[in-house]
């Protein structure tokens, strides 16, 4: 049997506050194959960010099992995670290339090689020529591209993205979705992508995991059987609509 890259079984996370316990995640059970792009979709308070932080090793969990890595894809938690957040969180005082290099510096990777890799990555994300600019000279979308390059610099196997395009305007967001799919195909990474955008979740995901709030639990987990490379055309297709409706229904919006 082929072991999946990520295996979650019955994962539960409870925040203890003074009044009552707050269930942030429960019944999270799903597998992710190496090289997949999985969308975690759900409303605020459904625990999608908490789940992402559990995967990143930043949060503990109360019950259940989290396993990342397989014999064919060994996973080193200290250097196989790259993160992208809603805000680009670039360091204002560093040039773009030095921002991209931050994780490499922290991990103590050889700087000469990392610098060359940072240039390649900036080309990959469409920021060739912006290496020596400061963040304030870039638009929001360009800053987020730099943040994606930063998440890739130490060549991690797993990229965790927490609503990375949530702060961008609608048009830039569409464009970044296409860009992300291209980067994903070229960089060949496993990506877990948190969003509250239903159409974004379907458009990007090879698989969609639906989480509901109040109480937080996992409601669905299905493969998205749409061809790659995807273009904006698929959004008008029959299948895309079906997948979207399936999520709307689970979230009680239909």
């Amino acid at each position: 049997m082929n072991q999946p890259f990520i295996h979650l079984a019955g994962v539960k996370k409870v925040y203890r506050t003074r009044g009552a316990d707050f269930i942030a995640v429960s019944e999270a059970t799903f597998d992710v194959e190496a090289g997949e792009l999985v969308s975690l979709v759900g409303p605020s308070g459904c625990g999608k960010t908490t789940l992402l932080k559990i995967l990143a090793g930043l949060h503990s969990h109360e019950a259940g099992n989290v396993q990342i890595g397989s014999p064919s894809q060994p996973f080193d938690p200290s250097r196989d995670v790259g993160m992208v957040f809603q805000q680009p969180l670039l360091l204002k005082w560093r040039r773009v290339i030095d921002n991209v290099l931050l994780p490499a510096e922290i991990l103590g990777l050889p700087m000469e090689r990392s610098r060359a890799r940072a240039r390649d990555l900036l080309t990959l994300v469409g920021l060739k020529g912006a290496e020596d600019k400061f963040p304030y000279e870039l638009s929001g979308g360009m800053q987020q591209r730099a943040a994606i390059a930063r998440a890739l610099i130490h060549d991690p196997k797993l990229i965790l993205m927490d609503e990375p395009f949530g702060a961008l305007d609608a048009l830039t967001r569409e464009k970044m979705n296409l860009e992300l799919l291209r980067i994903w195909r070229e960089a060949k990474k496993t990506i877990v992508f948190v969003t509250h955008g239903i159409s974004e979740a379907v458009f990007l995901g090879t698989r969609v995991v639906v989480l509901t709030a109040g109480p937080a639990r996992m409601a669905d987990n299905f493969r998205v059987d749409l061809p790659h490379p995807r273009t904006l055309d698929i959004k008008t297709g029959e299948k895309f609509g079906e997948y979207s409706r399936r999520i709307y229904r689970l979230l009680g919006m239909e």
């Binding site: 932080k53 930043l58 938690p77 200290s78 250097r79 995670v81 809603q86 204002k92 005082w93």
Partner: protein, 255 residues
């Protein structure tokens, strides 16, 4: 190119406004027949520099030493204290309220006590400048060290960055604009602190000289002293501003 021209224009306008003030001062004295002991003319003020008895250089150096000395001490100890706070939350909760209370003391009121404890001189006046500058620097630095995006810390922790790496790569550079905003406020306060110290008790310095020439009604010399004190303050402020330009990216500066 357009930016350069605009900058040139701004400097030119600033210089003109300063010159106009001097001209207005001159005209007011000349046309108004104001007596010299009330308001000396610009020329009379400059002539006061020629009185050897006033020992301008020596007095200026003394006041400068008090201002710069007290200021530099406040920067070192102010930033140091804030760093300690950022490392120990308990220490901050223990000491910070005390600092806030102590800061409520009007520093000028401490003058007579400082004289009783330490006598006259450069040292005690430096302490006065220090006492006034210290707190704003602690406050802004502590705030800057606290204002770090939690997600950014998560990012560093996701690649198992240490507490020290978070501090050197993120917290400290992130606090720099805040530190400079405190240092700019403190630079102005330092001058006031040193002069008040000299007024309360001293045997040298520009503040001391002002009290001496007040007795003989040499208003021109008093004017000159005020101008020199202001110039020392401007030099200090200019140095801080220059350091900020050098160390803080334009976008991050706090105006």
């Amino acid at each position: 190119m357009g930016g350069n021209r605009e900058m040139l224009q701004r400097y030119a306008l600033a210089v003109v406004s300063h010159l106009l003030l001097v001209v207005a001062w001159y005209l007011f004295v000349e046309l108004g027949h104001v007596p010299k002991f009330v308001l000396p003319s610009p020329a009379a003020t400059i002539q006061a520099l020629l009185v050897p008895n006033y020992r301008w250089v020596e007095n200026g150096l003394v006041t400068g030493a008090e201002i710069f000395g007290g200021y530099i001490l406040a920067v070192i100890f102010g930033i140091g204290t804030a760093l300690l706070f950022s490392w120990s939350r308990t220490l901050e909760m223990f000491v910070m309220p005390l600092l806030v209370s102590l800061n409520m003391i009007p520093k000028v009121a401490l003058g007579p006590l400082i004289i009783v404890w330490f006598r006259y001189g450069i040292g005690p006046n430096m302490m006065m400048a220090f006492a006034i500058c210290f707190f704003p620097i602690v406050l802004t630095t502590a705030r800057g060290l606290r204002e770090v995006e939690p997600d950014l810390i998560d990012l560093v922790r996701s690649v198992k960055g240490s507490r020290w790496q978070i501090f050197t790569k993120i917290q400290l550079p992130n606090a720099l604009p805040y530190i400079f905003s405190g240092m700019k406020v403190a630079a102005i306060l330092a001058v006031a602190g040193a002069i008040v110290g000299e007024f309360l008790g001293s045997d040298r310095g520009l503040g001391y000289l002002m009290l001496q020439v007040q007795v003989t009604l040499d208003t021109a010399a008093m004017f000159m002293a005020v101008i020199l004190i202001t110039l020392i303050g401007m030099v200090l402020y200019g140095i801080v501003l220059g350091l900020e330009r050098l160390l803080v990216v334009r976008d991050a500066r706090i105006q």
